[in-house]
């Protein structure tokens, strides 16, 4: 079997439903004036809509004496009033919609903003562990669901409650006796709604996770489909997809199956009420205890009364899935953030570039240490080459230096200052970094080169492009430096992307440089260009280079050889060759 265990999505600690609602409430509360205005409008429009059945009841009373005895002036009077009521009610309903849309949009706007700014404050480790698709589904689908729920469900909940209360009062006024019907039906519907809600919540939660697992698998395997095709195992992957697919379908059907009772049953309770009312009403009419118009008004009210109850239960139904969605959003908002800069953190300024690692230990997980008690120093302007077998911990040193991760043990100093005592921003600004993974965003070439340095002149951008030797290519494009780089644009090759990121680094003027296997993507011919440019970039800077190229390593002031998380050797190329240790044998092996 290929793939993850779908159940792992379900077996996480249950978030408290009421807590989720409370947090949602907090978002709403930020815009309390909107809420109050909306409440006012809905009270008025609902009262008007309630007045109408009463008026029509009165009109019926004026009609009911029958042939030749209809009181026309009364009927006309009530009809005009009815039209006015409904007109005002319609206008207010629309105003209410406008306000609620604005409210819910404000809330989703701030929710999306909160999620994104949460993302920006999360440690890099979070992004190493999570799939973009999962986070995207939270920031788009889940928030969207909450949005729908806020803009529609809460209004319904509110207006329905008003209608229920209003209709109830009106009915009491018409006939308290007839009202006894609801003694049967209301408890019935409340009981039913509560029971269903309890049953449905876990089903919706399960559905959420089954769909999440399906989407995760889809994203993963479609991204890797070329490999799957190359190995000709499409059928196995399709078969596995089928498992996720049927899982998701089954859990959707299960929640639908239970949910499908909700609508009709509320309607059922509603219809029971009407049957009972008309039977009882007819008997009361016979006993002269009730007028015909009263029965008519009562039935209209009871529809108005039961309608909202049915709506409330549908809304509760929908709220279940929105709460599940909100839980996922809040779950993200609860992720532990990057540890804050300490209050007295200094701004790292006027950096010379003296770096010291002192007894540093680190592991990505608690049980396995990647770096064990590492100590070394790098003097101002020195070039440090970090070499060692794969998985030895070379990249980890960079991660710690930039504080993408924090050390478990030991200290790192820059110009004598412990890096956790300075602000992250100023620390990171002290470095220029060129990574193996090129990263360009949807924007112009000029924007991509100048990224991170506001107010860079076009000349400077052009100069940087010239130094890395990509200027001719850029100028050959129809829009030159304004050419937009898009995700699916095939106009730019991987190597050219790499050169652009090097040009970006060129513009950055800092005292320390990090190169992580940066040139391995650039073709060998361009490499000569790049290396010349790099040498210029490296001038007067403290450099940390993770490179596999001998030429880079040979020129280094210090080579640090790492194996199994420890520094096994340290020295210049000549010294290490003479020593005849790990480095010497590595060097020899490339000519095998």
């Amino acid at each position: 079997m290929i793939g993850r265990d779908p159940l792992s999505y379900v077996s996480r600690p249950k978030a408290k439903k009421s807590r989720t609602l409370l947090r949602l409430g907090k978002y709403v509360w930020r815009y309390k004036w909107f809420v109050i205005l909306a409440a006012f409008l809905s009270v008025v429009s609902n009262l008007l809509a309630l007045l109408a059945p009463k008026l029509s009841g009165l009109a019926i009373d004026a009609i009911s004496p029958g042939q030749g005895k209809v009181e026309f002036d009364k009927v006309l009077y009530y009809v005009v009033l009815i039209i006015i009521c409904y007109a005002i009610s319609a206008i207010f309903t629309y105003l209410l919609t406008v306000i609620m849309v604005n409210l819910s949009q404000k809330i989703t706007l701030s929710m999306r903003r909160d999620v994104f700014s949460k993302l920006t404050s999360l440690p890099v480790g979070f992004f190493d562990r999570h799939q973009a698709g999962d986070i995207i589904s939270r920031i788009s689908y889940d928030i969207d669901m909450v949005n729908t729920s806020l803009s529609q469900d809460f209004v319904t909940l509110f207006t329905s409650s008003i209608t229920i209360v209003g209709a109830f009062i009106s009915m009491v006024m018409i006939s308290p006796l007839l009202l006894s019907v609801f003694l049967v039906t209301i408890p019935l519907s409340i009981l039913f709604t509560l029971r269903k809600t309890k049953k449905l919540h876990p089903l919706y939660r399960k559905r959420s996770y089954a769909l999440g697992a399906l989407n995760g698998y889809t994203e993963e395997t479609i991204t890797g489909q070329k490999t799957v095709k190359a190995y000709g195992t499409e059928d196995e992957f399709i078969e596995m997809f089928d498992k996720y697919n049927s899982d998701a379908t089954a859990s959707c059907y299960n929640s639908d199956y239970q949910g499908s009772v909700v609508g009709p049953s509320v309607n059922f309770i509603n219809n029971i009420s009407i049957s009972l009312i008309s039977t009882l009403g007819a008997i009361l009419y016979l006993g002269n205890r009730l007028k015909l118009g009263d029965i008519s008004a009562f039935i209209l009210f009871s529809r108005k009364f039961a309608g909202p109850i049915s709506e409330i239960s549908t809304v509760f139904n929908e709220l279940q899935s929105s709460i599940a969605a909100a839980e996922r959003v809040f779950g993200l908002l609860d992720e532990p953030e990057e540890v804050r800069d300490s209050d007295n953190a200094e701004i790292l300024d006027g950096v010379c570039g003296n770096v010291e690692f002192k007894n540093v230990s680190f592991g990505y997980t608690e049980d396995t240490l990647i770096l064990k008690n590492i100590s070394f120093t790098a003097g101002e302007g020195e070039q440090i080459a970090i070499v060692g077998p794969t998985g030895a911990g070379k990249t980890t040193i960079i991660n710690l230096l930039m504080r993408f991760y924090d050390v478990n043990d030991g200290q790192i100093f820059i110009d004598g200052k412990e890096i956790r005592s300075v602000t992250r921003d100023s620390l990171r600004k002290a470095f220029t970094m060129v990574l193996q993974d090129t990263w360009l965003f949807d924007g112009s070439i000029a924007d991509n080169i100048s990224y991170g340095n506001e107010n860079v002149s076009l000349d400077k951008i052009k100069h940087a492009a010239h130094v890395v030797g990509i200027d001719k290519y850029i100028e050959s494009l129809p829009n030159g430096y304004d050419t937009r780089i898009t995700d699916n644009g095939i106009n730019i090759s991987k190597g050219q992307k790499q050169l652009l990121t090097i040009a970006r680094a060129m513009i950055n003027d800092s005292r320390m440089l990090i190169l992580d296997e940066a040139t391995s993507n650039v073709d060998t011919r361009t490499e000569e260009y790049v290396q010349t440019a790099m040498r210029k970039l490296m001038e007067n800077k403290t450099c940390f280079v993770i490179a596999h190229r001998l030429s880079t390593i040979k020129n280094a002031d210090k080579i640090i050889v790492i194996n199994d998380g420890k520094i096994v050797e340290c020295g210049t190329h000549e010294e290490l060759i003479c020593a005849g240790g790990t480095y010497a044998s590595m060097h020899a092996s490339q000519f095998m």
Binding site: I2, L119, I136, A282, I299, R303, T526
Partner: protein, 571 residues
């Protein structure tokens, strides 16, 4: 939509059943106000409590039937909707895996993913809604109108007079609503792109302290989306109050005219009461239709996106060709190729010739964009060549079924993929390899040692994106995958870039001793990785800039010599 109807047709009997049940359930519902009118106008004057009770119980029976039938029908509807989407998803996924690479390039991977996940979801909602309410709402409206016609044709005609107005509003909705919704969808796409971008560039963003810039950029997109959504909802929000108002005005007019008719003895008060009940039912039904319409708008846009995929047919076909007897295992003769979408003149590969005997190694070296990876993609028939021919074992590759062609191959791509599954599953990749094969391959790839240190060894579960492995460990698992099934042809595309010299050299040794009879193609940036290859192909801008072994090339290819010099391979 046609594509989706085809799927629905597989469930015709269930659909017909659910719809009929729904139909009956709706009719029984419509009887309730009718009975009410009957009680008021006919039974009450008879002053018989027994009869009142009888009709009251009949009403209850109708209510019960309505309930049971609606539940049954709704369950049927959701069965249909879920089953259809199950099939649509299955076919989409299967289709995507059988697409040619140029089609995948055309659609782009993120778009394919969103079609499987969000578009199918929209269609499911649409079908469910159509089946549950699509039949109920029209029946309620038509049935309601018929019932009112039976009660009092004159009063009913007032009701019918509102129809054109409501139709007008629905037309307005479709004219203005759909473009508004698609503009919202575009804004959502932009937002998703931004988040994706941020995700992949997190290190750069943080290194350059650009968090605030990114927040600003996101804020712009976020606000824009909100603005468009507000506009769409506010515009469409006008329909419901207006429709309700129209119906209620009609109701008021009915009371007025009803009064005259009662006065003339042409109608009764009970009828007007029943009218009001029907009005409530019809108003609700119209609101439902309005909701269906919004759902349909979303769903049909998605259905179009789904159909685009399902209607694309793989352009890779197997065409029988003559077999040629040769002792060459692979031959490329005069192969040229242009990616679709590029202009005629810009050939990605132009006039490539080489041949390899069984067990030989070909090294390919050249600049980025010189076409190295394309050579492999053509050999695997991810794309069809424009000119020339490629033969494996004397057979033209266009005559070999894709499965047979690819089953011979073990390959590692650049930035190849690992999934959240166990290490063994990642190596096997669905090929049903036994443990012995997997372990042997891991041993050759020097992966065995670190795997055995993991909890559960080969059953160790990788996280998504293999986040719990280092770059070198990932690479060695990928190599184990390529080694595992005793491939006839082993292809390594720049697979040593994440490995250091020592591991690289060790691997080369292992490959040479373990895969003597396997033909090997190695793409590399470093001359040291390929200098011992039997043949080396030097590419420059899609053309051959040298072909031969290392020593020959140093003399015959200026480009090769230059590369060797830069890398310190010649003095």
């Amino acid at each position: 939509m046609k594509a989706i109807f085809k799927y629905l047709s597989g469930y015709t009997s269930l659909i017909v059943f659910s719809m009929s049940v729904k139909f009956i359930g709706t009719i029984t519902e419509l009887f309730i106000p009718y009975i009410l009118q009957h009680i008021i106008d006919v039974i009450i004057p008879m002053k018989s409590i027994e009869k009142i009770l009888f009709w009251g119980i009949l009403m209850l029976v109708c209510a019960l039937l309505t309930f049971v039938l609606n539940v049954i029908a709704n369950r049927g509807a959701s069965k249909v909707a879920n089953s259809v989407i199950y099939n649509v998803r299955r076919d989409l996924y299967g289709h995507i895996f059988n697409m040619s690479c140029s089609e995948v390039d055309h659609f782009t991977v993120p778009s394919l993913i969103s079609r499987i996940s969000s578009d199918t979801y929209n269609v499911r909602n649409m079908i469910g809604m159509l089946l549950r309410v699509g039949i109920r709402a029209p029946i309620l409206i038509i049935g309601g109108i018929i019932m009112t016609l039976v009660l009092d044709a004159v009063l009913a005609s007032i009701l019918i007079a509102t129809v054109p107005f409501i139709a007008l509003i629905i037309v307005f909705l479709s004219r203005y609503g759909i473009p508004l919704y698609s503009s919202v969808q575009n804004a959502v796409d932009t937002l998703v792109l931004k988040v994706r971008e941020f995700f992949s560039g997190i290190r750069v963003v943080k290194a350059l302290s650009q968090v605030e810039t990114e927040k600003d950029n996101f804020e712009k997109i976020n606000t824009d989306l909100s603005r468009r959504e507000t506009k769409a909802t506010v515009t469409l929000g006008i329909t419901n109050p207006v429709i309700t108002l129209i119906l209620n005005i009609a109701l008021a007019i009915i009371i007025m005219i009803g009064a005259y008719r009662v006065n003339e003895g042409l109608s009764e008060a009970g009828k007007i009461i029943a009218f009001m009940s029907y009005f409530t039912i019809i108003t609700n039904a119209v609101t439902m239709i309005n909701r269906i319409f919004t759902n349909y708008t979303k769903g049909s846009a998605s259905a179009v996106r789904i159909r685009e995929i399902l209607s694309s047919t793989s352009d890779i076909k197997v065409i029988p060709q003559d077999h040629v007897d040769t002792d060459d295992y692979i031959t490329f003769s005069n192969v040229s190729f242009t990616y679709s979408g590029l202009s005629e003149g810009a050939k990605t590969l132009d006039g490539i010739n080489f041949s390899l005997k069984r067990g030989e190694t070909l090294g390919i070296i050249g600049a980025i964009g010189s076409g190295k990876t394309t050579v492999i993609q053509l050999l695997l028939r991810f794309y069809d060549i424009s000119e020339g021919e490629i033969r494996i074992d004397g057979d033209d590759i266009i005559s070999i079924p894709l499965k047979d062609l690819r089953s011979k191959i073990g390959i590692v791509f650049q930035n190849d993929f690992l999934m959240s599954a166990t290490i063994a599953e990642n190596i096997s990749l669905g090929r049903h390899l036994n443990n012995e094969n997997i372990m042997k391959a891991a041993k050759i790839a020097h992966a065995e040692e670190f795997i055995s240190q993991k909890e559960n060894g080969f059953e160790y579960r990788l996280e998504s994106k293999a986040a719990n492995l280092s770059g070198g460990q990932k690479q060695r698992i990928l190599l184990s995958r390529a080694f595992a099934a005793n491939p006839e042809l082993l292809i390594l595309d720049d697979s040593s870039s994440a490995l250091d010299y020592k591991t690289d050299a060790m691997l080369r040794k292992e490959i040479n001793s373990n895969f003597k009879n396997t033909t090997k193609i190695v793409i590399a940036q470093r001359i040291s990785s390929i200098r011992h290859a039997d043949k080396i192909l030097v590419l420059e801008n899609g053309k051959m800039a040298g072909y031969g072994d290392h020593d020959t090339l140093l003399k015959s290819s200026a480009l090769y010599y230059e590369i060797a010099k830069t890398q310190g391979e010649v003095q």
